[in-house]
């Protein structure tokens, strides 16, 4: 993927109001994969006693990253929407740490993109969550 296309993808993501509200950032994008970050934020805590982030915020990050991976596939769908997404929560994210997720579009047809993702915090050995989903493929070139 050319640097211009990466820049465009970054701008595309940061123009999404919900992503902007969560301060999500696209850090890497290539042919059928994307890497995104979600900084720790007290506003999106799910358990006030421990300060652990809410699963919903992690879902939002993984959903966006999976969509970006689907759109970055060389078959290049112009638009995409989530058909379904399954998230497994392995452990609580460590409070104060940025969540990083990498999504990969491992198969694409004329109508559907199959994507999976893993979310990590500073401990890159033990995933916080994994996701698998199907996305629509719209306006294929």
């Amino acid at each position: 993927m050319t640097p211009g296309k990466v820049k465009m993808a970054e701008q595309f993501i940061s123009a999404i109001p919900h992503c902007k509200a969560l301060n999500m950032k696209l850090t890497e994008i290539g042919d059928g994969f994307a890497v995104m970050e979600l900084p720790y934020d007290l506003r999106i805590v799910g358990d006030p006693e421990t300060g652990v982030l809410h699963g919903g915020a992690v879902s939002a990050l993984m959903d966006t990253c999976c969509g970006a991976a689907a759109m970055s596939h060389p078959a290049s769908p112009a638009t995409t929407a989530t058909i379904d997404l399954r998230i497994d929560y392995m452990r609580a994210a460590t409070p104060g740490q940025t969540i990083r997720t990498r999504a990969e579009c491992y198969h694409i047809t004329r109508s559907v993109a199959f994507v999976r993702a893993t979310a990590l915090d500073d401990d890159s050995e033990r995933p916080v969550a994994t996701a698998a989903g199907a996305f629509t493929v719209g306006g294929i070139k």
Binding site: I16, P17, C19, D47, P48, H54, G56, S59, A60, Y89
Partner: protein, 170 residues
Amino acid sequence: MSRKRIEPVQVIKQRRDGALHSLVHGVPYVQFLGIEFDRRGDELTAIMPFDDKLIGNPMLPALHGGAIAGFLETTAVIGLAWSVLWEDIESGNVDTEELAVGHLPRLPKTIDFNIDYLRSGLPRDAYARARVTRSGRRYASVHVEAWQDQRGKLFAQATGHFLMPAPADG
């Protein structure tokens, strides 16, 4: 054979609404999404009023899949916690004054969550209800339905599995 005296309706309502209020308002992320709960007896309806920051596709415009996921997961967790809490409130096992000052019961933890996006979320208020399909001592299964203008026309549904918090008294 003395029956328990029936309490005035206001006392009951205050206790139930107070417990629900502390459950919902104690979680920052729930406030971030602006989710409120409407209670009729023990039935809860979650409401996510439309807000610009929930948008995921500015062109359509449509709600973000992640915001919808957060909304459904919140509906499931609060619905599940409420169904457990309800028994305790009614039987007097829970100190509602403790709840009111923010000493919340431990919430169930999500093990997995599976969301179906049936149609795009329109830029208006969204509603959801959870049904606890199975509630065991350790695990629970919850189904959630979400709609916007028409109750029968779901725009998303989800099923999740949850780990129940260990009982406080061992």
